[in-house]
Amino acid sequence: MTIDFHAVSAGDVLPAFTMTISADEVRDYLRSTGEDPEVWLGAGVVPPLGALALTLAALTEEMPLPAGVIHSGQEVDFVQSIPIDAEISGFAVIDRRSERAGVLMTQLGFELQVDEATAARGKITIVMPTAATVGAD
């Protein structure tokens, strides 16, 4: 069951999720961005922004975003590298939710853990005009 984006409020905790990121997924991600994959594949480590991108994908599977949502800000601390094929546990909470001047702002806090240790944490800010649909990011 997915979460209704319009129904959440500050303090709401999203269901925890788990994921693994394979070498093939790392290779494909880096080919798509154009970055040389050898640095990461050679070290057996997930590129940090790739982990973040797939975290966003996991979160939007839980809480589909309506048309009009734009990714407006991103904060992330890469605390420790994530090994390829490691089981990653993800946690997210609605940190802030406000509507002002016709714009709905939502900020999600998230944390990724590997072996119960923090691997990354940060905040994702998304905005959506409440008066008109303009497309999504």
Binding site: E35, V46, G50, A53, A67, H71, G73, D77, Q80, D137
Partner: protein, 132 residues
């Protein structure tokens, strides 16, 4: 590749064409199939009138620049704080730049920006990484 330095490294610019083929590939690889990024009626009817690149795809150029300078150390103690300022209309050649702002207790902090060919800012913020 984990590297360390006596001084903060220079982070060299990364320039890349973000065309529709790259955006389409990224959509699959990052599992973000939002139609606004592809050649769809939703994209054509949006306020932009054409597909726009994923913000995370543009941000990936900053991560690549930091990786080129710091290696995998970027994944161990690196951090990013950015705001997306303007959409990257596809196709667009984007340049990521990082300018050293400070170096304190082994952490180098850079002002980072992604620009279009005219120098207009697509995203801006800060990136930090351990260098010592």
């Amino acid at each position: 590749m984990a590297v360390s330095f006596d001084e903060p490294p220079v982070v060299l610019p990364v320039t890349r064409l973000i065309d529709q083929a790259r955006v389409d590939h990224y959509a699959v690889a990052a599992r973000d199939m939002n139609p606004i990024h592809r050649n769809t009626p939703e994209a054509l009817e949006s306020q932009f009138g054409q597909p726009v690149a994923h913000g995370m795809l543009v941000l990936a150029l900053i991560s690549e620049a930091m990786t080129n300078a710091f290696g995998t150390r970027w994944a161990n103690g690196g951090s990013l704080q950015v705001r997306f300022r303007a959409p990257a209309l596809v196709p667009m050649t984007v340049t990521a730049r990082a300018t050293l702002r400070s170096a304190h207790e082994g952490i180098a902090t850079y002002d980072v920006v992604c620009e279009d060919p005219r120098g207009d800012v697509l995203l801006s913020g800060r990136a930090s990484a351990p260098f010592a």
